[in-house]
C-alpha cells in the first residue's frame, strides 16, 4: 500500500500562509492505514493548526472532511461544496489524490499535507517499510521473493556488493542487506546456483525513466 508521512507543521503553515479559509481533506484508504491522513489525523492536524493560529493571533479557519478515496472522481465530487467554500484545500492524501483534486478543481489551490514516501507494508504495527519501487518489470521470481530494486540501496541485480556486513547494508546498519536475504532464501529453497546466473542490465524504460506510465484495459472500458 502507499505509505505517507505528515509534513512538518512549520512547512504546512508556510504553505497555508496566504489563505484564510482552509479545508483539510483526509483520505480514507492508504493514508488512513499509514496513520498519516485519515479522519483521525485530519482532526489532530486541524486542532494543531488552530492552536498555532491562536498563538499568533491569526484568524484562519480550518474545516475538516474526509472522503473514502481521493483517487476516484466520484468521491471527490462528494465534497464539492466544502471545497468551493474554501480558499485552499490541504489534502492529506498521497500525491495521486492531491493531483486528482487539482485536476477536478482546477480553480482551487490544492496543497499537499503529507509526503508520499513509498510503497510498503507494516511489518509490525507502527513500523512501515518500503517493499516495492513499481519498476514495471518485476524480478521477484528470480530473487526468491525479495526485491533488489526496492530493498538494495544500489538496486543491484548481481549482488551483494562488498559493503554487506553481517547481513546489514553499508548505507544503514539497521537495514538488512537485501542480497543477504536473497542468498539465504535461495539457499533455503535449494536454489543457490541462481546466485551464479548473470542478470543483464535492467530495462529502465519500463520504470518511470521511460516517462509517466499508463495501463489501458480495453476490455474494461465503458
Amino acid at each position: 500500500m502507499i505509505k505517507a508521512k505528515l509534513k512538518p507543521i512549520a512547512e504546512i503553515r508556510e504553505m497555508l500562509a496566504p489563505y484564510e479559509k482552509v479545508l483539510i481533506l483526509g483520505c480514507g484508504t492508504c493514508v488512513t492505514i499509514s496513520f498519516a491522513g485519515g479522519e483521525k489525523e485530519v482532526g489532530l492536524l486541524a486542532s494543531s493548526l488552530r492552536i498555532a493560529e491562536a498563538m499568533n493571533g491569526q484568524a484562519k479557519t480550518f474545516a475538516e472532511a474526509t472522503v473514502q478515496r481521493q483517487c476516484e472522481w466520484e468521491f471527490l465530487d462528494e465534497v464539492a461544496e466544502q471545497i468551493n467554500r474554501a480558499d485552499a484545500v490541504l489534502s492529506l492524501a498521497c500525491g495521486i489524490g492531491v493531483q486528482a483534486l487539482a485536476e477536478r478543481y482546477p480553480d482551487k489551490v490544492i496543497l499537499p499535507g503529507v509526503n508520499t514516501t513509498f510503497l510498503g507494508m507494516a511489518v509490525e504495527h507502527g513500523v512501515l517499510v518500503e517493499r516495492c519501487r513499481a519498476c514495471g518489470d518485476c524480478v521477484l521470481g528470480q530473487t526468491a521473493g525479495i526485491c533488489p530494486i526496492a530493498r538494495c540501496a544500489k538496486n543491484l541485480l548481481n549482488g551483494p556488493c562488498g559493503g554487506s556486513q553481517e547481513g546489514k547494508c553499508e548505507v544503514n546498519p539497521e537495514l538488512d542487506c537485501a542480497w543477504q536475504l536473497i542468498y539465504e532464501r535461495l539457499e533455503r529453497l535449494g536454489m543457490l546456483d541462481r546466485m551464479n546466473l548473470f542478470q543483464p542490465p535492467k530495462d529502465w524504460s519500463k520504470d518511470y525513466d521511460g516517462g509517466p506510465r499508463k495501463i489501458v484495459r480495453e476490455d474494461l472500458r465503458l
Binding site: A153, K154, N155, L156, L157, N158, G159, P160, C161, G162, G163, S164, Q165, E166, G167, K168, E170, V171, C177, Q180, Y183, E184, M195, N196, F198, Q199, P200, P201, K202, W204
Partner: protein, 307 residues
C-alpha cells in the same frame, strides 16, 4: 595478451606485481598530480586512480590518468556505477582508450550517502557485474551494450574488486568466480589485515582454480595511528581489522606508530606472498603516497622488474 600494458606484462611474466594508488585532489589543481606522480614513479607497476571515492567529488579518474601518462606512469582508472549511466560509461571508456589508458577497475561504488553530496541521485543503471560484462563485450565482441558494432574497440586490461571479508562469507569465492566469468582479468582485494581469514578465502579460490583464470592482487595499506585503526575497525563496512593489529600499534610509543604501521604493512605483504594463488599486491596508502616506496622496500619488492 589482452592489452599489453605494463601491469599485464609483469603479471604474465610471473613476477609478483605491485601496484599503488593515487587519490585525486578535491580541486582543479594539476600540480598535486605532478607531485604525487613523482613520489610513485618507478616504484610500482601501475597506479590506481580512484573515482569519486567514498562519494566525495574529486578530479575525475580518467583526466588524472591522462596526466599520469604524461608523467611517465601507467594508470589504472577506476569506474563506478554510482555516477554514470551506461551511455556515459561507454562514452568515457571510448575516450579513455583513445587517450591511451590501458587498465580499468570496474566497481559498483560507495553509496552517495557516505559522501559530500548525499542528496544526489545515485544512478546505478548497471551493477559491477554488468559493467565488467559490458567492457569485456566492447573489447572482445566489439559491441556496445545495445548490440551495435564498434569499429575500433576500446581495449582494457579489466580489473574488478573483491572483498574476501564481506558477507555472506561463504559466497565470496563464488562471487569472484562470477566476476571472472563476467570479464575480470585481474582482481584487487579490499584491505587485508586478517591474513588467516584471507588465506582461508584463497584456499577456496585456488580449489576452484580461479587463480589460473585471473590475477589476484592482495590489497594492503599502512595504518597511521591507533585512532585510524579503531575507525577502520568500527566504521568502515567490509573491513576486518583484528585486535592484534591494533594492539601492535598501541604497544609502541606514539611517535613510532607510523613507522610501526609501515613495518606491519610490509609484513602483511610478505605473508600474502606466501599464500598460493596471490599474484601481487595493491598498496593503498591513503593520502600518504610517500609511504609506498618505503613499504615496498621493506617488503623486498624493489626494484620493480622491467618487462
Amino acid at each position: 595478451m589482452k592489452v599489453g600494458s605494463n601491469l599485464e606484462k609483469v603479471l604474465a611474466a610471473g613476477h609478483f606485481a605491485a601496484t599503488g594508488e593515487l587519490g585525486p585532489p578535491k580541486s582543479a589543481d594539476a600540480e598535486v598530480i605532478r607531485k604525487k606522480a613523482g613520489l610513485l614513479r618507478g616504484y610500482v607497476d601501475a597506479v590506481n586512480i580512484t573515482d569519486n571515492q567514498t562519494a566525495i567529488v574529486r578530479m575525475s579518474s580518467i583526466s588524472v590518468g591522462v596526466m599520469l601518462l604524461q608523467e611517465g606512469l601507467e594508470p589504472t582508472i577506476q569506474m563506478t556505477c554510482r555516477d554514470r549511466n551506461r551511455l556515459a560509461i561507454q562514452a568515457d571508456l571510448l575516450g579513455a582508450a583513445a587517450l591511451g589508458i590501458p587498465n580499468l577497475l570496474c566497481l559498483t561504488g560507495d553509496h552517495q550517502s557516505f559522501g559530500n553530496h548525499a542528496t544526489a541521485r545515485g544512478v546505478y543503471d548497471l551493477d559491477s557485474m554488468q559493467l565488467l560484462n559490458m567492457v569485456r563485450a566492447m573489447r572482445d565482441d566489439k559491441q556496445f551494450a545495445c548490440g551495435e558494432e564498434i569499429s575500433v574497440e576500446p581495449r582494457f586490461f579489466i580489473g574488478a574488486a573483491s572483498n574476501p571479508f564481506a558477507d555472506p562469507f561463504d559466497f565470496r569465492p563464488q562471487r569472484l568466480a562470477n566476476k571472472i566469468a563476467a570479464g575480470a582479468d585481474f582482481v584487487q582485494t579490499q584491505l587485508i589485515y586478517n591474513v588467516p581469514k584471507f588465506a582461508e578465502f584463497m584456499k577456496r579460490v585456488v580449489d576452484m582454480g580461479l587463480h589460473e583464470k585471473c590475477y589476484i592482487l592482495a590489497g594492503v595499506g599502512p595504518i597511521k595511528s591507533v585512532g585510524m585503526a579503531r575507525y577502520m575497525q568500527n566504521n568502515v563496512p567490509g573491513l576486518d581489522v583484528p585486535e592484534d593489529i591494533v594492539a601492535r600499534l598501541k604497544g609502541v610509543p606514539k611517535e613510532e606508530v607510523r613507522q610501526e604501521g609501515l613495518k606491519q604493512c610490509a609484513e602483511i605483504i610478505q605473508q600474502c606472498r606466501e599464500i598460493p594463488g596471490v599474484a601481487g599486491v595493491h598498496v593503498m596508502a591513503i593520502e600518504w603516497e610517500a609511504a609506498v616506496p618505503q613499504i615496498l622496500e621493506l617488503a623486498g619488492l624493489l626494484p620493480r622488474p622491467q618487462v
